[in-house]
Protein backbone atom coordinates (compact mmCIF):
# COMPACT_ATOMS: atom_id res chain seq x y z
CA UNK A 1 0.00 0.00 0.00
CA UNK A 2 1.30 3.46 -0.91
CA UNK A 3 2.00 5.87 1.88
CA UNK A 4 -0.48 8.38 0.45
CA UNK A 5 -3.26 5.80 0.65
CA UNK A 6 -2.76 5.20 4.33
CA UNK A 7 -5.21 6.63 6.81
CA UNK A 8 -4.10 9.58 8.88
CA UNK A 9 -4.03 7.83 12.28
CA UNK A 10 -1.77 5.15 10.80
CA UNK A 11 0.44 7.81 9.24
CA UNK A 12 0.60 9.63 12.54
CA UNK A 13 1.70 6.47 14.35
CA UNK A 14 4.45 6.00 11.80
CA UNK A 15 5.46 9.64 12.06
CA UNK A 16 5.70 9.45 15.84
CA UNK A 17 7.98 6.42 15.49
CA UNK A 18 10.24 8.64 13.39
CA UNK A 19 9.00 7.95 9.86
CA UNK A 20 9.82 11.21 8.12
CA UNK A 21 7.86 10.43 4.97
CA UNK A 22 4.69 9.73 6.91
CA UNK A 23 5.10 12.99 8.79
CA UNK A 24 5.67 14.96 5.59
CA UNK A 25 2.51 13.54 4.04
CA UNK A 26 0.51 14.79 7.01
CA UNK A 27 2.32 18.11 7.17
CA UNK A 28 1.97 18.90 3.49
CA UNK A 29 -1.68 18.00 3.51
CA UNK A 30 -2.65 20.35 6.33
CA UNK A 31 -0.05 23.07 6.66
CA UNK A 32 -1.33 25.46 3.98
CA UNK A 33 -4.89 25.61 5.33
CA UNK A 34 -3.66 26.17 8.85
CA UNK A 35 -1.08 28.73 7.78
CA UNK A 36 -3.58 30.72 5.71
CA UNK A 37 -6.06 30.77 8.56
CA UNK A 38 -3.39 31.89 11.01
CA UNK A 39 -2.07 34.48 8.57
CA UNK A 40 -5.49 35.95 7.86
CA UNK A 41 -6.34 36.04 11.52
CA UNK A 42 -3.07 37.49 12.78
CA UNK A 43 -1.97 39.47 9.74
CA UNK A 44 1.59 38.47 10.53
CA UNK A 45 3.53 35.87 8.54
CA UNK A 46 5.89 35.50 11.47
CA UNK A 47 3.04 34.78 13.89
CA UNK A 48 1.37 32.42 11.42
CA UNK A 49 4.60 30.49 10.99
CA UNK A 50 5.06 30.28 14.73
CA UNK A 51 1.51 29.06 15.22
CA UNK A 52 1.82 26.35 12.57
CA UNK A 53 5.15 25.28 14.01
CA UNK A 54 3.63 24.96 17.49
CA UNK A 55 0.74 22.94 16.11
CA UNK A 56 2.97 20.40 14.38
CA UNK A 57 5.41 20.25 17.27
CA UNK A 58 2.49 19.36 19.49
CA UNK A 59 1.57 16.62 17.03
CA UNK A 60 5.12 15.25 17.17
CA UNK A 61 5.59 15.55 20.91
CA UNK A 62 2.14 14.72 22.20
CA UNK A 63 0.44 12.67 19.51
CA UNK A 64 -1.81 11.05 22.08
CA UNK A 65 -3.75 14.29 22.26
CA UNK A 66 -5.29 13.43 18.93
CA UNK A 67 -7.97 10.79 19.38
CA UNK A 68 -9.25 9.44 16.07
CA UNK A 69 -12.61 8.48 17.57
CA UNK A 70 -13.31 12.13 18.28
CA UNK A 71 -12.87 13.34 14.72
CA UNK A 72 -10.55 13.85 11.81
CA UNK A 73 -6.95 14.91 12.18
CA UNK A 74 -7.64 18.04 10.13
CA UNK A 75 -10.34 19.14 12.55
CA UNK A 76 -8.03 18.49 15.49
CA UNK A 77 -5.20 20.47 13.92
CA UNK A 78 -7.54 23.31 13.06
CA UNK A 79 -8.81 23.37 16.64
CA UNK A 80 -5.28 23.58 17.99
CA UNK A 81 -4.39 26.26 15.45
CA UNK A 82 -7.45 28.25 16.39
CA UNK A 83 -6.57 28.12 20.09
CA UNK A 84 -3.02 29.24 19.39
CA UNK A 85 -4.21 32.07 17.16
CA UNK A 86 -6.66 33.27 19.79
CA UNK A 87 -3.93 33.17 22.43
CA UNK A 88 -1.69 35.13 20.12
CA UNK A 89 -4.40 37.71 19.54
CA UNK A 90 -5.01 38.02 23.27
CA UNK A 91 -1.31 38.42 23.92
CA UNK A 92 -0.68 41.06 21.29
CA UNK A 93 -3.78 42.32 19.53
CA UNK A 94 -2.04 43.46 16.42
CA UNK A 95 1.52 44.61 16.56
CA UNK A 96 2.52 43.92 13.01
CA UNK A 97 1.77 46.69 10.63
CA UNK A 98 1.07 46.13 6.97
CA UNK A 99 4.50 47.60 6.21
CA UNK A 100 6.06 44.84 8.29
CA UNK A 101 3.96 42.28 6.52
CA UNK A 102 5.12 43.54 3.16
CA UNK A 103 8.69 43.86 4.34
CA UNK A 104 8.76 40.18 5.24
CA UNK A 105 8.33 39.38 1.63
CA UNK A 106 6.93 35.90 2.05
CA UNK A 107 3.30 36.89 2.30
CA UNK A 108 0.76 38.76 0.27
CA UNK A 109 2.65 38.38 -2.98
CA UNK A 110 1.74 40.54 -5.88
CA UNK A 111 -0.51 38.59 -8.21
CA UNK A 112 0.85 37.86 -11.63
CA UNK A 113 -1.86 38.96 -14.05
CA UNK A 114 -1.94 40.83 -17.32
CA UNK A 115 -3.10 44.22 -16.07
CA UNK A 116 -1.75 47.65 -16.71
CA UNK A 117 0.46 49.09 -13.97
CA UNK A 118 -2.35 51.48 -13.05
CA UNK A 119 -4.84 48.65 -12.72
CA UNK A 120 -2.37 46.57 -10.78
CA UNK A 121 -1.75 49.43 -8.37
CA UNK A 122 -5.48 50.00 -7.93
CA UNK A 123 -6.16 46.32 -7.38
CA UNK A 124 -3.31 46.06 -4.96
CA UNK A 125 -4.64 49.03 -3.02
CA UNK A 126 -8.10 47.52 -2.80
CA UNK A 127 -6.68 44.24 -1.56
CA UNK A 128 -4.64 46.04 1.06
CA UNK A 129 -7.69 47.98 2.21
CA UNK A 130 -9.78 44.84 2.54
CA UNK A 131 -7.01 42.98 4.29
CA UNK A 132 -6.54 45.85 6.69
CA UNK A 133 -10.25 46.09 7.35
CA UNK A 134 -10.49 42.34 8.02
CA UNK A 135 -7.56 42.49 10.40
CA UNK A 136 -9.18 45.34 12.32
CA UNK A 137 -12.34 43.36 13.00
CA UNK A 138 -12.81 41.92 16.48
CA UNK A 139 -11.42 38.38 16.54
CA UNK A 140 -14.78 36.58 16.63
CA UNK A 141 -16.18 38.48 13.66
CA UNK A 142 -12.87 38.26 11.83
CA UNK A 143 -12.86 34.52 12.25
CA UNK A 144 -16.35 34.22 10.79
CA UNK A 145 -15.36 36.37 7.82
CA UNK A 146 -12.12 34.46 7.28
CA UNK A 147 -13.79 31.06 7.40
CA UNK A 148 -17.01 31.83 5.54
CA UNK A 149 -15.81 34.44 3.04
CA UNK A 150 -12.10 33.83 2.52
CA UNK A 151 -11.86 30.10 3.15
CA UNK A 152 -15.32 29.69 1.60
CA UNK A 153 -16.52 27.26 4.21
CA UNK A 154 -20.22 26.58 4.59
CA UNK A 155 -21.90 27.77 7.77
CA UNK A 156 -21.97 24.20 9.04
CA UNK A 157 -18.26 23.68 8.40
CA UNK A 158 -17.38 26.97 10.05
CA UNK A 159 -19.57 26.17 13.03
CA UNK A 160 -17.87 22.79 13.42
CA UNK A 161 -14.44 24.39 13.14
CA UNK A 162 -15.26 26.97 15.80
CA UNK A 163 -17.21 24.59 17.99
CA UNK A 164 -20.33 26.76 18.09
CA UNK A 165 -23.87 26.66 16.67
CA UNK A 166 -24.58 27.66 13.07
CA UNK A 167 -26.71 30.54 14.29
CA UNK A 168 -23.72 31.97 16.16
CA UNK A 169 -21.61 31.85 13.05
CA UNK A 170 -24.30 33.54 10.98
CA UNK A 171 -24.71 36.22 13.58
CA UNK A 172 -20.95 36.84 13.81
CA UNK A 173 -20.69 36.93 10.05
CA UNK A 174 -23.51 39.42 9.84
CA UNK A 175 -21.81 41.70 12.32
CA UNK A 176 -18.47 41.22 10.62
CA UNK A 177 -19.86 42.08 7.22
CA UNK A 178 -21.56 45.20 8.56
CA UNK A 179 -18.33 46.38 10.19
CA UNK A 180 -16.35 45.65 7.04
CA UNK A 181 -18.79 47.59 4.90
CA UNK A 182 -18.69 50.54 7.26
CA UNK A 183 -14.90 50.56 7.39
CA UNK A 184 -14.45 50.30 3.66
CA UNK A 185 -17.04 52.89 2.87
CA UNK A 186 -15.30 55.25 5.23
CA UNK A 187 -11.96 54.42 3.67
CA UNK A 188 -13.17 54.90 0.10
CA UNK A 189 -15.20 57.91 0.98
CA UNK A 190 -18.22 56.45 -0.71
CA UNK A 191 -21.19 56.35 1.58
CA UNK A 192 -23.31 54.56 -0.97
CA UNK A 193 -26.08 53.68 1.37
CA UNK A 194 -26.64 57.28 2.27
CA UNK A 195 -26.57 58.41 -1.32
CA UNK A 196 -28.80 55.58 -2.41
CA UNK A 197 -31.22 56.41 0.38
CA UNK A 198 -31.31 60.03 -0.80
CA UNK A 199 -32.29 59.01 -4.32
Amino acid sequence: MKILDEKEPALLKRAVRGDEQAFLVLYRKHQATLYRYALRMTGSPWAAEEVVQEVFLLLIREPQKFQPDRGELGAFLFGVTRNRVMKHLERRPREDSLDEINANGNAWKEPQDPLTPMMIAEKSERIEQVRDAVLELPAEFREAVVLCELEEMSYEEAARACGCPVGTIRSRLHRGRALLLAKLELLRDAPRRASAGAK
Binding site: G18, E49, V52, P111, V134, Y155, L184, R192, R193
Partner: protein, 227 residues
Protein backbone atom coordinates in the same frame (compact mmCIF):
# COMPACT_ATOMS: atom_id res chain seq x y z
CA UNK B 1 -49.28 28.63 -11.05
CA UNK B 2 -47.61 31.75 -9.74
CA UNK B 3 -44.91 31.21 -7.15
CA UNK B 4 -45.65 32.98 -3.87
CA UNK B 5 -42.69 34.93 -2.55
CA UNK B 6 -42.70 35.85 1.09
CA UNK B 7 -42.02 39.53 1.62
CA UNK B 8 -39.27 40.41 4.03
CA UNK B 9 -38.40 43.58 5.95
CA UNK B 10 -35.20 45.65 5.65
CA UNK B 11 -33.88 44.11 8.91
CA UNK B 12 -34.48 40.63 7.54
CA UNK B 13 -32.84 41.63 4.28
CA UNK B 14 -29.71 42.65 6.16
CA UNK B 15 -29.61 39.14 7.58
CA UNK B 16 -30.58 37.18 4.48
CA UNK B 17 -29.83 39.42 1.53
CA UNK B 18 -26.07 39.29 1.80
CA UNK B 19 -26.20 35.51 1.55
CA UNK B 20 -27.86 35.68 -1.86
CA UNK B 21 -24.70 34.78 -3.72
CA UNK B 22 -23.62 31.98 -1.42
CA UNK B 23 -23.86 28.51 -2.90
CA UNK B 24 -25.50 27.17 0.24
CA UNK B 25 -28.22 29.86 0.31
CA UNK B 26 -31.83 28.63 0.40
CA UNK B 27 -33.73 29.36 -2.83
CA UNK B 28 -36.79 30.79 -1.02
CA UNK B 29 -34.63 33.22 0.93
CA UNK B 30 -32.77 34.27 -2.21
CA UNK B 31 -36.02 34.94 -4.02
CA UNK B 32 -37.45 36.91 -1.11
CA UNK B 33 -34.26 38.98 -0.77
CA UNK B 34 -34.19 39.71 -4.51
CA UNK B 35 -37.81 40.78 -4.39
CA UNK B 36 -37.11 43.10 -1.47
CA UNK B 37 -34.00 44.60 -3.06
CA UNK B 38 -35.98 45.37 -6.20
CA UNK B 39 -38.43 47.41 -4.20
CA UNK B 40 -36.13 49.05 -1.61
CA UNK B 41 -33.45 51.50 -2.79
CA UNK B 42 -31.58 51.45 0.53
CA UNK B 43 -31.32 47.68 0.62
CA UNK B 44 -30.41 47.62 -3.05
CA UNK B 45 -27.53 50.01 -2.30
CA UNK B 46 -26.51 47.79 0.59
CA UNK B 47 -26.53 44.78 -1.72
CA UNK B 48 -24.39 46.65 -4.25
CA UNK B 49 -21.91 47.68 -1.59
CA UNK B 50 -21.76 44.14 -0.33
CA UNK B 51 -21.19 42.73 -3.82
CA UNK B 52 -18.36 45.17 -4.31
CA UNK B 53 -16.86 44.17 -0.98
CA UNK B 54 -17.40 40.52 -1.81
CA UNK B 55 -15.42 41.08 -5.00
CA UNK B 56 -12.62 42.61 -2.98
CA UNK B 57 -12.73 39.70 -0.56
CA UNK B 58 -12.50 37.37 -3.51
CA UNK B 59 -9.46 39.28 -4.73
CA UNK B 60 -7.92 38.88 -1.30
CA UNK B 61 -8.80 35.21 -1.34
CA UNK B 62 -7.25 34.74 -4.78
CA UNK B 63 -4.23 36.72 -3.74
CA UNK B 64 -3.49 34.49 -0.78
CA UNK B 65 -5.02 31.18 -1.76
CA UNK B 66 -1.65 29.60 -2.45
CA UNK B 67 -0.06 30.91 0.69
CA UNK B 68 1.66 28.22 2.68
CA UNK B 69 4.12 27.96 5.48
CA UNK B 70 7.70 28.70 4.43
CA UNK B 71 9.96 25.79 3.55
CA UNK B 72 12.19 26.49 6.55
CA UNK B 73 9.35 25.41 8.82
CA UNK B 74 9.23 22.01 7.18
CA UNK B 75 12.99 21.73 7.63
CA UNK B 76 12.74 22.64 11.30
CA UNK B 77 10.03 20.10 11.92
CA UNK B 78 11.97 17.40 10.08
CA UNK B 79 14.95 18.23 12.25
CA UNK B 80 12.81 17.93 15.36
CA UNK B 81 11.60 14.55 14.17
CA UNK B 82 15.17 13.38 13.55
CA UNK B 83 16.33 14.65 16.92
CA UNK B 84 13.57 12.76 18.65
CA UNK B 85 14.35 9.62 16.65
CA UNK B 86 18.04 9.84 17.54
CA UNK B 87 17.21 10.50 21.16
CA UNK B 88 15.18 7.30 21.17
CA UNK B 89 18.12 5.15 19.97
CA UNK B 90 20.30 5.63 23.09
CA UNK B 91 17.28 4.93 25.25
CA UNK B 92 16.79 1.60 23.54
CA UNK B 93 20.53 0.92 23.85
CA UNK B 94 20.34 1.62 27.57
CA UNK B 95 17.43 -0.78 27.80
CA UNK B 96 19.41 -3.48 26.00
CA UNK B 97 22.44 -2.93 28.24
CA UNK B 98 20.28 -2.99 31.36
CA UNK B 99 18.66 -6.25 30.34
CA UNK B 100 22.07 -7.66 29.41
CA UNK B 101 23.48 -6.78 32.80
CA UNK B 102 20.47 -8.26 34.53
CA UNK B 103 20.84 -11.48 32.52
CA UNK B 104 24.56 -11.61 33.34
CA UNK B 105 23.81 -11.13 37.03
CA UNK B 106 21.29 -13.98 36.94
CA UNK B 107 23.81 -16.18 35.15
CA UNK B 108 26.55 -15.41 37.67
CA UNK B 109 24.15 -16.03 40.55
CA UNK B 110 23.16 -19.36 39.01
CA UNK B 111 26.75 -20.43 38.55
CA UNK B 112 27.58 -19.33 42.08
CA UNK B 113 24.66 -21.31 43.42
CA UNK B 114 25.79 -24.40 41.52
CA UNK B 115 29.32 -23.95 42.77
CA UNK B 116 28.16 -23.51 46.33
CA UNK B 117 25.91 -26.56 46.11
CA UNK B 118 28.79 -28.62 44.72
CA UNK B 119 31.01 -27.48 47.59
CA UNK B 120 28.31 -28.34 50.12
CA UNK B 121 27.95 -31.81 48.67
CA UNK B 122 31.72 -32.27 48.90
CA UNK B 123 31.64 -31.15 52.50
CA UNK B 124 28.90 -33.63 53.27
CA UNK B 125 30.88 -36.38 51.67
CA UNK B 126 33.99 -35.35 53.56
CA UNK B 127 32.10 -35.23 56.80
CA UNK B 128 30.80 -38.68 56.18
CA UNK B 129 34.24 -39.92 55.37
CA UNK B 130 35.68 -38.24 58.44
CA UNK B 131 32.94 -39.45 60.70
CA UNK B 132 33.43 -43.04 59.59
CA UNK B 133 37.18 -43.06 59.53
CA UNK B 134 38.17 -40.20 61.79
CA UNK B 135 41.65 -41.41 61.26
CA UNK B 136 43.47 -38.67 59.45
CA UNK B 137 46.02 -36.55 61.14
CA UNK B 138 45.35 -32.83 61.50
CA UNK B 139 48.99 -32.18 60.96
CA UNK B 140 49.44 -33.84 57.62
CA UNK B 141 48.91 -31.14 55.03
CA UNK B 142 45.78 -31.60 52.86
CA UNK B 143 44.39 -34.26 55.18
CA UNK B 144 44.54 -31.83 58.02
CA UNK B 145 42.68 -29.22 56.06
CA UNK B 146 40.03 -31.79 55.22
CA UNK B 147 39.63 -32.66 58.90
CA UNK B 148 39.21 -29.05 59.88
CA UNK B 149 36.63 -28.56 57.19
CA UNK B 150 34.81 -31.61 58.43
CA UNK B 151 34.69 -30.14 61.89
CA UNK B 152 33.25 -26.96 60.47
CA UNK B 153 36.11 -24.94 61.75
CA UNK B 154 36.79 -21.96 59.66
CA UNK B 155 40.20 -21.10 61.10
CA UNK B 156 43.43 -23.03 60.58
CA UNK B 157 45.38 -24.81 63.33
CA UNK B 158 48.91 -23.70 64.00
CA UNK B 159 51.31 -26.40 64.94
CA UNK B 160 52.73 -25.90 68.40
CA UNK B 161 56.50 -25.62 68.61
CA UNK B 162 58.24 -28.92 69.14
CA UNK B 163 55.11 -30.97 68.52
CA UNK B 164 55.47 -34.05 66.40
CA UNK B 165 53.27 -34.85 63.44
CA UNK B 166 50.92 -37.47 64.71
CA UNK B 167 50.23 -40.66 62.95
CA UNK B 168 47.57 -41.56 65.42
CA UNK B 169 44.08 -42.21 64.28
CA UNK B 170 42.11 -40.59 67.05
CA UNK B 171 42.49 -36.91 67.59
CA UNK B 172 40.20 -34.58 69.44
CA UNK B 173 39.58 -30.90 69.58
CA UNK B 174 39.59 -29.37 73.01
CA UNK B 175 37.92 -26.03 73.40
CA UNK B 176 39.32 -23.89 76.16
CA UNK B 177 38.76 -20.36 77.40
CA UNK B 178 42.00 -18.98 78.71
CA UNK B 179 44.11 -15.90 79.04
CA UNK B 180 46.21 -15.14 76.03
CA UNK B 181 49.33 -15.07 78.17
CA UNK B 182 48.87 -18.78 78.94
CA UNK B 183 49.62 -19.60 75.30
CA UNK B 184 53.21 -18.74 76.08
CA UNK B 185 53.46 -22.01 78.01
CA UNK B 186 53.05 -23.86 74.73
CA UNK B 187 55.98 -22.02 73.22
CA UNK B 188 53.95 -19.43 71.37
CA UNK B 189 55.05 -15.77 71.42
CA UNK B 190 52.54 -13.53 73.24
CA UNK B 191 52.36 -9.75 73.22
CA UNK B 192 52.71 -8.66 76.84
CA UNK B 193 50.23 -5.81 76.57
CA UNK B 194 47.49 -8.26 75.54
CA UNK B 195 48.49 -11.12 77.81
CA UNK B 196 45.53 -10.55 80.13
CA UNK B 197 42.89 -10.88 77.41
CA UNK B 198 40.57 -13.88 77.58
CA UNK B 199 40.36 -15.82 74.35
CA UNK B 200 38.60 -18.95 73.15
CA UNK B 201 41.22 -21.49 72.03
CA UNK B 202 40.92 -24.84 70.31
CA UNK B 203 43.63 -27.40 70.95
CA UNK B 204 44.10 -30.34 68.70
CA UNK B 205 44.89 -33.14 71.11
CA UNK B 206 46.76 -36.16 69.90
CA UNK B 207 46.01 -39.69 70.96
CA UNK B 208 48.68 -39.37 73.59
CA UNK B 209 46.83 -36.44 75.14
CA UNK B 210 49.43 -33.88 74.13
CA UNK B 211 48.30 -30.70 72.31
CA UNK B 212 49.71 -30.69 68.83
CA UNK B 213 48.17 -27.61 67.30
CA UNK B 214 46.22 -24.58 68.38
CA UNK B 215 43.83 -22.03 66.92
CA UNK B 216 42.03 -19.02 68.26
CA UNK B 217 38.29 -18.83 67.92
CA UNK B 218 37.94 -15.15 67.29
CA UNK B 219 38.05 -13.61 63.86
CA UNK B 220 41.58 -12.42 64.12
CA UNK B 221 44.43 -14.46 62.74
CA UNK B 222 46.42 -16.37 65.26
CA UNK B 223 49.64 -14.82 64.20
CA UNK B 224 48.44 -11.27 64.63
CA UNK B 225 46.75 -12.12 67.91
CA UNK B 226 49.79 -13.71 69.33
CA UNK B 227 52.03 -10.82 68.61
Amino acid sequence: MKKVIKMISCEQFELLGLDMDRPDARPQEVAAAAEHAASCAQCFALLESWRELKQDLRLLHEDSRFESAPARLEMRLKQELRTRREARVPRSAVTVVTWGLAAAAVLVAGLGWNHWRGASLNKGTNRAVTASNNSQSATTGPDRAMLLAADSDSGAFTRLPASMPSAYENQEILQVRMQRGALGRFGLPVAQDRAAEWVQVDFLIGEDGVPQAVRLHDDSQLESTLQ
